[in-house]
């Protein structure tokens, strides 16, 4: 199975996302932001980094890249899309996910191993977890504070759109400890923490993040 990883100017964790895809048993396919060719991939990962140096707003310029128009079209038809950190910011800017990511409440960049609770284990990217399961993956961001209007937050919560939540401490002041959300159909997931940095015991806090990348294999086969 082919899973695309898009590189924008300033993408940083694209090599990590590709490695995670490979370790999950799929074939990572490098996609270039300026092209319109999705190269027959069946799912796409938008990696972390500082696309366009976070100029204007984090993710704002990348959301308007040529490749993103194709991603948005395919996502609306059900192609699984995972946005990690900067990728999450891009998905919010592209209108595929609700809410916005703003400067961390404490104004510092923060990198730590973060405990998360899986709230939804029935999305395309989280079916290999159990609902309520606690995992640890790294978080690292300067603009990761999830915000939305109160009414929108109530709606997001009511529709069960929160996929992962921070537990044992909120690293950036995100409202309602929201770490990641999903689209109404559960095919598009965005989260600030980095599951691709927790796929090997040697280099991560563990392998808790691998489930995101193995889940999507089943989601594609099932679709």
């Amino acid at each position: 199975m082919r899973i695309g990883v898009i590189t924008f100017p300033g993408s940083l964790d694209d090599v990590d996302a590709a490695r995670a895809v490979r370790l999950a048993g799929a074939e990572p396919v490098a996609l270039w932001h300026a092209e319109h060719d999705l190269k027959d991939v069946e799912a796409v990962v938008l990696p972390g980094g500082f696309s366009y140096g976070d100029y204007l707003r984090a993710g704002a310029i990348a959301a308007r890249a040529p490749m993103m128009r194709d991603v948005v079209d395919r996502a609306r038809q059900g192609m699984p899309v995972l946005g990690i950190c900067n990728g999450f910011q891009v998905l919010c800017e592209a209108g595929l996910l609700p809410g916005a990511l703003t400067r961390n409440g404490h104004l510092h960049f923060r990198n730590r191993d973060q405990a998360l609770r899986i709230e939804r284990a029935d999305t395309a990217w989280t079916s290999d977890y159990e609902a309520g399961q606690q995992i640890v993956v790294p978080v690292k961001n300067g603009e990761g504070r999830y915000v939305a209007a109160d009414a929108d937050l109530d709606r997001i919560e009511g529709e069960g759109r929160v996929v992962v939540r921070y537990v044992e401490g909120n690293p950036n002041g995100s409202m309602r400890d929201i770490a990641g959300v999903t689209s109404a159909d559960g095919r598009v997931v965005g989260l600030m923490p980095h599951p691709e940095h927790a796929v090997e015991d040697l280099t991560g806090p563990g392998t808790d993040g691998l489930g995101f990348f193995t889940s999507v294999l089943k989601a594609v086969v099932a679709a």
Partner: protein, 782 residues
Amino acid sequence: MTQDSATQGLSDLDTGPGPLQHRLDTVELAARTPDVEQPYGELGLESDEYARITAILGRRPTTAELAMYSVMWSEHCSYKSSKVHLRRFGDLPRSEALLVGIGENAGVVDVGDGYAVTFKVESHNHPSYVEPYQGAATGVGGIVRDILTMGARPIAVMDSLRFGRADAPDTARVLPGVVAGVGGYGNCLGLPNIGGELLFDDCYAGNPLVNALCVGVMKHEDVRLAKAEGAGNKVVLFGARTGGDGIGGVSVLASETFDAEGPAKRPSVQVGDPFTEKLLIEACLEIFREDLVTGIQDLGGAGLSCATSELASAGTGGMHVDLDAVPLRDSTLTPAEILMSESQERMCAIVEPGKVEQFLAVCRKWDVLATVIGEVTEGDRLTVDWHGERIVDVPPRTVAHEGPVYDRPMQRPADLDDLQADDPAALARPTTPEELAAHWLAVVASPDGADKTWVTEQYDRYVRGNTVLAQPDDAGVVRIDEETSRGIALALDGNGRYARLDPYAGTQLNLAEAYRNVAVSGARPLAVTNCLNFGSPEEPEVMWQFAEAVRGLADACRELGLPVTGGNVSLYNQTGDVPINPTPVIGVLGVHEDVRTRVPTGWRTAGETVLLLGETRPEFGGSAWASVVHGHLGGRPPAVDLGAERALGELLAALGREGLVSSAHDLADGGLAQTLAESALRYGTGARLTLDGDPFTALFSESAARVVVTTTDPEAVRATAEWTGVPVTALGTTGGDVLAVEGVAELPLAELRAAWSATLPALFGTPEATVGSVPAGTVPTS
């Protein structure tokens, strides 16, 4: 001297009133007007240096030539005071591991399987004091470009930071900005920060030290050198546009002392754009892959003056540059300013004419601006034209490589005898268990000993997915090949107190510590880099300290069989006439055949035997205990025993290879007290220990060549240690949530952690206090 007066002097000549009004200072004009007064003093040149330039050229220099010579002959670029001493490193026996040595942008070391690693540490001290965020950020940017220039992909950074007293008001201004700058730039480049140092001392109050290290990896055949060869080849400037920032940074900021009365020097500090640098990295690596350059040089200190003259000087000598072609951020810049500008994120490449179009295409793909600004020429002159007139015509070697060299007077510091005689043996020692425990906590909770998470969690340690160990482990370990698990280890260490008491021995102790830190991770130490931070070379006592440090490092490297691959010298680190403690910061690179066998520093499992390797003597000179408890600096630093360091290194390598130890942590500042606390707190596993002899000496001595390891097979460790001659002492057993030392203290880990972790947040702010964790399901009031 001020930035303003320096550029003012140039502007006067170019456009100001007087006989040269509205006249460009051309080579032809300079030959006709030998008596024009030139502001060489304001540009940092001595009168005899100016006379020498005139002799080289056979006429007075043009304004642009004077600008080039002034920046290239600055202490920062020319190493004019340090060169005579640094030759000792070149005299070391040739190492088989060294592929490229001193003189290039960075040394290159063979780490096996066809891989080559290049690493270097560089200072950005003065800019970081003036403008902490940008000073530190561009320090990272500069060293990353040095590594890139060698043909390598940068894979990690480290930072060694020193500030004034932790509770001094100015430290609260400088430190947060420096940390945010190191993080802001490195994070945005996608380079993991794998370790470094954070230390405090009054002597750095007006002169913080910001030393940044970068390491890169490539295949042997990919090594690139900075030289311009092949007449007709094009000179391509690529990256950011050239602006007015950082003009004269090397001659003004890095080569002069700060005076309390001096005017603001902000305009001399460069402003960084890590996004542009990230694009530059990817564009360069693609250019290297496609084999599109014959030579390459980054633009750092002294900007275009440095890049063009060094490329030409290292090549056949001839180059012509059309300065009008340089893309500018500010169209009012004079030609001299364009030549001196230190605008960041720029590189200069030598490209064969047939490859120029392909080169420019790669740059376009990455949105990197690239412009042909000149070409390699026959002959041995570097010429520069502006508006069709010749404004520079010089032999490039005289600019770049044949600058002035000084053998400055040296004198042993007058106070050194008194300082060494002031032995800490006379200090009041803790005797009761209560006092021992109180001193233990004081050392561990001191700003130097405390938890550095406040700093390191502002750095990305995970990006690229190859970080195996990072701070707080003793060494950073990075995997370089996913198939074979081959990797490298790096440690960066310095101790200004030891070097103040004895620069020769102190520098050797710094090297020994970095060597040991690499060895505890299980790696084989391979090569050395250094950043030598000292006061003014015009002070004979500082020059003596410098010469002693270099001699100490060279002698120790010879004994340990390690080459010095390059380094950086930062002088004029003083406030008024008070120099900093001599602070050599030493980096050691090691190789891991298989990073999966790496050894972490912390205790993870209960029931393991805790062993001390090495011998403890009553040595407290320059110790953390004397400094923290008594505010004392005196006596002699611990004895250097490089034979013991080497034996310990061999033992650690063997233990790692055989998988006989599950943790290893070196002893340095704070002695066993610090090491035990850090080992226990790393994963929250305590221990019950018994110390032989005087508990004060056991806990606080800083004898070198010592390491604490834990093992499930102490007999096997003893047997292995026997053939290396390293003494082994059993201390006790891991387990529980208390760090207990028989007859001394029972420190609950929670209490120890509270003391250790609270220090830096208390000094520099606790993010949680202002934000807090929002409980799930509650509606915030925003």
